[in-house]
């Protein structure tokens, strides 16, 4: 589907016409990310992060496939095979550091992509399915990243695997059998390492499949935009190519610069030193922490310290999963018809002064040792997190009086420019 004024694919070369008859793959690409996809003309740089997430996934898949050619998933040799990659494989250090820091970059852009969606109301009708599929991708990413971190078989790999699979042990009655079944043993060992490697190789391709669905679902209503106002006519849109391919090119350049700074000049900055110590089941690290991108969830997990009907550990596990699962209900929790946070004064305040600091504080506390005052701070911040989505948002959407919306995207663009023209051949509509 597309807007009626979308450019039509018209192959000129006879071969391309032949292809179009037999297998219209070029037509599909043209309509998906080429001139055939009309996009609102007013997107800002926050709309770059979807493409950047796709680029990050590609970097992970390519570096990961080559790493898998040299890595050995066996508890006896895994650690040394990673060091073999670092020392003896041609450019192996580059591949491994690119893959490890690429995971961090992937999460950075995906978090920005998610918060873009949260602020501009991209989860609302008619794009609920886009949001739900995006959350599925996020969950798959978390699983993939977690299993990938286990593969080097360092101390944090081992103890991280033990803690995270231990979460299933909190389930009453069947918890421990489930944990044993997941690990293929009573503690992480060769069986766990092998299955994690297998799944770590599989899941990125599942992610790729869900991304296709995500983009497909997006192309039904078309992209949203910073005003949140629906596209009304041809003057509101520009073709994806060349306009947004050019803009995404700039974003990609900046992304690669940040990635390179990390990769070449601080490759271990985001990692934990303990993971350069081979896994040792007999020696527990002083502080077991996951990678930085899990810190907010780890803080929520550890915030429950008192048994209340259920054991504290079970509360922590339920809350951690709930903190992500509740996002699936967001389109129905926030019923405000206005999408963009720019026109929602109350929502905007709670977003910038409530949610954003709350998530940053949770992230900080999740990386800190489980001591006071960090536990008390995470308890407050976790309480705000749940209150924000489950209590505050539904109330705001009832009582808030949104600012007047522009009549169209074009009108909002014209308001920014004094000469009253759009600058292109399309005539500005009479006011």
């Amino acid at each position: 589907m597309s807007f009626p004024w979308a450019e039509q694919y018209a192959p000129k070369h006879p071969f391309m016409r032949y292809m179009d008859e037999k297998l219209p793959l070029p037509r599909l690409v043209f309509n998906a990310v080429g001139g055939g996809y009309p996009v609102p003309r007013n997107l800002n740089y926050f709309w770059n992060f979807g493409v950047l997430a796709g680029a990050a996934l590609m970097i992970q898949i390519i570096t990961g496939i080559v790493l898998a050619m040299h890595y050995a998933a066996n508890a006896g040799v895994a650690f040394d095979s990673v060091e073999h990659i670092m020392r003896d494989v041609n450019s192996g250090w580059l591949l491994r550091y690119a893959h490890a820091n690429g995971a961090s970059m992937f999460f950075i852009v995906v978090y920005l992509h998610i918060f873009r969606g949260l602020y501009y109301g991209s989860y609302k009708a008619p794009r609920e399915m886009v949001w739900l599929l995006g959350l599925v991708i996020f969950l798959l990413m978390m699983a993939t990243a977690f299993m990938g971190y286990v593969l080097p078989w360092g101390q944090m790999s081992f103890w991280g695997a033990k803690v995270i699979t231990g979460l299933f042990g909190a389930i009453p009655l069947v918890g421990e059998p489930i944990q044993t079944w997941l690990l293929g043993g009573f503690a992480p060992d060769n069986a766990a390492l092998n299955r994690f490697f297998s799944l770590h190789f599989l899941l990125p391709f599942v992610i790729l499949g869900v991304i296709i669905l995500h983009i497909w679902a997006l192309h039904i209503p078309g992209s949203s935009n910073p005003t949140g106002v629906a596209v009304k006519g041809p003057q509101d849109t520009v073709p994806f190519h060349p306009y947004y391919t050019a803009k995404d090119g700039v974003g990609l350049g900046v992304f690669m610069i940040v990635f390179s700074l990390l990769l070449f000049f601080a490759p271990n900055f985001l990692g934990h030193a303990d993971n350069y110590i081979p896994a040792n089941p007999l020696s527990t690290p002083a502080h077991i922490v996951p990678e930085w991108y899990f810190w907010p969830f780890y803080a929520i997990l550890r915030a429950f310290t008192v048994d209340f009907i259920l054991p504290a550990k079970l509360w922590g596990v339920l809350a951690m999963f709930a903190s992500i699962l509740l996002l699936f209900f967001l389109p129905w929790l926030d019923k405000s018809p206005v999408r963009s946070g720019n026109y929602r004064p109350l929502f905007k305040k709670f977003f910038w002064f409530g949610l954003i600091p709350c998530v940053l504080i949770l992230g900080y506390c999740g990386g800190a040792p489980a001591e006071e005052p960090y536990v008390m701070i995470s308890q407050l911040a976790s309480a705000y997190y749940f209150a924000h989505f489950l209590i505050i948002l539904p109330i705001i959407s009832k009582i808030e009086r949104p600012l007047p919306l522009p009549n169209s995207i074009t009108e909002s663009v014209l308001a920014k420019h004094t000469d009253g023209t759009l600058g292109d051949a399309t005539p500005a509509p009479a006011a």
Partner: protein, 280 residues
Amino acid sequence: MVRILGPIVGLGFVGVLLWSLMWGAIAFVQEPPKATAEHEFHKHPEKVDFSFNGPLGKFDQAQLQRGLQVYKEVCSACHSLRLVSFRDLTALGYTDGQAKTLAAEWSTETPSINPETGEPATRKSIASDRIPSPFPNEVAARAANNGALPPDLSLITKARHDGSNYVHALLTGYSAQPAALLKHFPEAKTGEGLHYNPYFANLNLAMAPPLTAEGQVSYADGTKPTVDQMAKDVSAFLTWTAEPKLQNRHRTGLAVLIFLVIFTGLTWMAYQNVWRDKKH
């Protein structure tokens, strides 16, 4: 439905969290967390001005050679370097011949078998061998070290926070226990067979001070072998063993950044050009 159940679930979580917070706060007030000796007396390593610091840093080959000498004459009595091969030492400026000689003359031989009988034996190392470990296994290492296991040093500067500075600080940081520590934390008195060192996480480690006197090794290049100098040299050497491709990484990074800055500049110009006639 969602709008009814959502707030109920939300109130549930918020309630349990505030309940936890209340009990935590009560415990915090009634019994504030006690200061520990580790918390009060643990020191972070001071920054050393290594040649490989910074985005364009390089190894100082002469320093790495001196560091190897310190490792060989002091550390290698207890600590293995199992990820490093003799042939790798050519990166320190040695020729292939010198690497072979280093291997053949190493104090410990490489484990092998007697080709006639199949009995366990040892043989002289060759360049492709890893540096042999001082002890045949962990049990032997513990038995010779009062139950403590001297860690392998191949990755030590990456396996400790701020590792290069840490190794230097640890080697030079041994001291007597401060009187204030013994006064406030009498139970933290350094135990039998342990040594006080404020840079070690729990302040007391089994390793006796390995670098004790100036001139413990004699450097061929005339550098004065002070304890501080030996500690710096061996930290630099162990940074190389942990990250042998550091220089390669810095150099590649510089080239990649130059390329990317130009690339991004071009994409910016293309972007400006494409959008020239579109207000947005």
